[in-house]
Symmetry: C2
Subunit: 136 residues, 2 copies
């Protein structure tokens, strides 16, 4: 199957990341379920059976994945960062009352009329977040 731990090792290697046991577990947590997880949630998933991976390693690894372009950071909640295993261009729908975060495919979304950037600046990314709430 696509998301086996063995394939994780390959995925990591192809992104120039030395595939250690902990890194494979963290990658597996993120990629086997296609969800947006916070560092906390990754910790919880990885350490379900018995404590295996320290907090420091989870944070280090997520930062490493970020640098290597394996995941994306999504900043929607003031209290925690989410990590998104989907790096293809897309936007986000955030349910403010439940904290649920889902993807909006970028394919049909058009953003036009943005002013030119100040000189000497490059775009690092454009984040579009639709904040929604349940009626009532």
């Amino acid at each position: 199957m696509y998301y086996s731990r063995d394939n994780m090792a390959g995925l990591l290697r192809s992104h120039d990341i030395n595939p250690t046991h902990q890194r494979i577990e963290i990658a597996h947590a993120l990629f086997s379920r296609q969800e947006h997880l916070s560092a906390d949630q990754v910790m919880a998933i990885v350490n379900t059976r018995h404590s295996e991976t320290s907090k420091a390693t989870v944070y280090n690894t997520l930062k490493l994945f970020l640098e290597k372009g394996l995941v994306r950071e999504v900043i929607v909640d003031p209290s925690k960062v989410f990590f998104d295993p989907n790096t293809s261009p897309h936007h986000h729908l955030y349910e403010v009352d439940t904290g649920k975060l889902s993807d909006i495919d970028a394919e049909h979304v058009q953003i036009s009329g943005l002013p030119p950037l100040p000189a000497g600046m490059v775009t690092e990314g454009i984040d579009l977040i639709v904040r929604v709430r349940r009626t009532g």
Copy 2:
């Protein structure tokens, strides 16, 4: 002049906020300079001469201003929330290396092709953040 402390009292009253000394100072900090400030920065500004306003009051007041629609929350930095005295529709330009946050006028920006919302949901707001970095 427009941003005197006296006018702050009027502004607060017109938004159904009891204008206390501390609230006027905080409003003045936000509206006299048209900048995006974090709670920390507001604290620092308000307490420059001598300590006048407690942390709790700054947070309470900013939350109150938010509820009353006097300011807007901008979530771009994973470590802190910015408060935006400009409530007219606009987007943001965030310089990731310096932390500087500025406005992009919404007038000419068009966002089209967003999928329909899930049933029973209302949009609370659409945040568009352009993250930029200095070349080099």
